[in-house]
Symmetry: C3
């Protein structure tokens, strides 16, 4: 048992209604010694892909053993499975709806085995469970029981990690006829547009002197090492803090400048 267990929370519950606080109250009753850290509660309502991305950029900065309590759950009350995973030396608790897409992909590339259970044991739920707030009634108490020392394999029925949903990530980047095709993975608070080109592809694009990225029919060819040294009044390419290739506009929102960009918007790079 960890003497100072850490639970990190990520939801789309917003901050007005007290729902994250209610989950923390439930946790405090089961695992009073758990430390609680918010990743975000402002994932847009039901935006599984955004939640999956934010979790991906955050999880490996937390210490091994951290329990990630993640609830973006448009299918609450339906047949999507509530699950808990052990992957990359951390624990994850939430719905099996794609929210763990990026985590599972990155772990499978590098970090060995993943263990998974379906959270089907009512003794770890808050009684009586409601049909509409699984975060409070099911996910928070299960995460708290993990923090309090219950083993993952005792929390629920073992399931095949290969069957876990990875549906929230865009298809991996691909080359076709000399061009690189990808997609926007995330637009952040500052309006920076982050692509699904990871550090290896990002390096290749940035180091190719003639490469041009096109998004929303607009070409982007300027580049910079960091935000403050980019050109004025023009979008430019740079490596995001996650290592991914990003598009920024100095002192402005690139997402707005580019005429409206969303997760999934296509990007193409020529001249590589």
């Amino acid at each position: 048992v960890n003497a100072l267990p850490l639970i990190a929370l990520l939801t789309d519950f917003g901050l007005e209604d007290g729902y994250p606080g209610i989950m923390k109250g439930v946790i405090a009753g089961i695992a009073p010694q758990a430390r609680l850290v918010d990743i975000t509660h402002l994932v847009p309502a039901q935006a599984i892909a955004t939640g999956a991305w934010v979790l991906y950029t955050a999880w490996h900065y937390f210490p091994p053993g951290t329990i990630f309590l993640c609830v973006v759950d448009p299918g609450v009350g339906t047949s999507r499975r509530p699950v808990s995973l052990y992957a990359g030396d951390r624990f994850f608790v939430g719905p099996d709806n794609g929210l763990f897409s990026y985590v599972l992909s990155s772990v499978s590339e590098s970090r060995g085995p993943v263990q998974a259970v379906e959270l089907n044991r009512a003794q770890f739920y808050l009684a009586p469970p409601s049909a509409t707030f699984a975060g409070r009634d099911l996910f928070a108490p299960c995460a708290a029981h993990l923090a309090a020392g219950i083993a993952l394999e005792d929390l629920g029925m073992p399931i095949d990690p290969e069957g876990l949903s990875k549906s929230a990530a865009p298809p991996p980047p691909r080359f076709s006829r000399g061009r690189l095709f990808g997609a926007v993975a995330h637009c952040d608070h500052f309006g920076n547009v982050i692509t699904n080109f990871g550090s290896r592809l990002a390096g290749r694009v940035l180091e190719s002197p003639n490469s041009v990225l096109t998004i929303n029919q607009k070409p982007v060819s300027a580049r910079a090492a960091t935000y403050a040294v980019g050109p004025e009044g023009e979008p430019f390419l740079l490596p995001d803090s996650s290592g991914h290739l990003a598009i920024a506009v100095r002192n402005a929102s690139a997402a707005t400048w580019l005429g409206g960009v969303l997760p999934g918007t296509r990007v193409v790079v020529a001249g590589l």
Copy 2:
């Protein structure tokens, strides 16, 4: 003395200006061992009724002994009394302006005695007190002293709990000529509209096959067990996570769909 005291905060201070953080700094100086959990700081400015509702849905999910530090206080600096209560095995600290309306009503139905004091002892204030920020100067230090082991009866002058304000809750639902009259208690982050019909009345409405709820002159008769299985493009009734009867629209805001709904908006059910 609780080894791990827990203070849960609820205010209308917003998150821009650092006011909740300042209260936590004050608490850390008096009760360094206290754990701190935010319920919300986004109660609309001075909206006592909203604060009272959010507190009501949250408080009983926190462990016994929790101290609720609640500041929605349009009357700061005037004669409204600063109070602390012991009710339902938890402590509450804040202004006596209706913020504890629902808590007091639900406790009086079920849970035995309520104890109350007026926070009139300056030795527990932060010196010198300002006229405009009682959260920092009075309520936070008093909550922290409770967490640090001061007994409620030593924090202030005993007052009659019967005299505490319950003015923020709508009048209780009533039947008249075969119809059930009530009001909207809260509209949440997702736009779900929550009525003041508690679980017993909610069950009766949902189980009556011919019942129709009317709000803003719009009839609502569809119903569902949970959000994801409701009909498309039409409002429907369901039990909220608090047990109350709620109105939702799938993948949309019911509050907007119904032409603008606010706490206090009337609802009527016929066909029971």
Copy 3:
């Protein structure tokens, strides 16, 4: 070493993207016993002056020894120095870009020596450092090492505190030909407009029966001891919770009422 070190965070990272949570994850890996309190993460993007003001109103309410981790950093990746200070019995970590302007001014008036280092020792960074997210890669780990017991003088190279930037504060108030000239320092969540007239000048304005403040060509002469007793439908002067002279409108935003007010907007008082 403090048994319960406290780190207070102030940034412009917003709450959507998980950046504050990532910093906390980094801290938890280095200083698991540190308590974490958010001051705000909603400083407007790159608004150093606003961040400096919010820090100023907050810092002295935290206990001695508190570590303030402050990141409003438009110059990330450029030559602005990353620094850590010991001032007024607290520690501060962040960019040397004016963010500590008010803290340094108020400490120099009253509290003795300031110690400062440039955070130039890579062994205290997170490896490998990125060019775009110094909060995660440099400031959070340095703050965590302070919390874990590393001495300030070991964290980096000593620098002259006199050379630290104080550029974010408006010029001090001044009298000229019988009138008092100053500026708006901050507009808060409620729309209250807070000037850079501190408690001494605020007292003098409020106690002069004929004084009139002018802002955006609008005269303000009414005054009140607190928000709830101000006149209706008219701006009035009162002492803010920070002791500074403020302008409020009852149940409304003074900043809006006065035709748009920003930090730096000029104010003039006649009739003193």
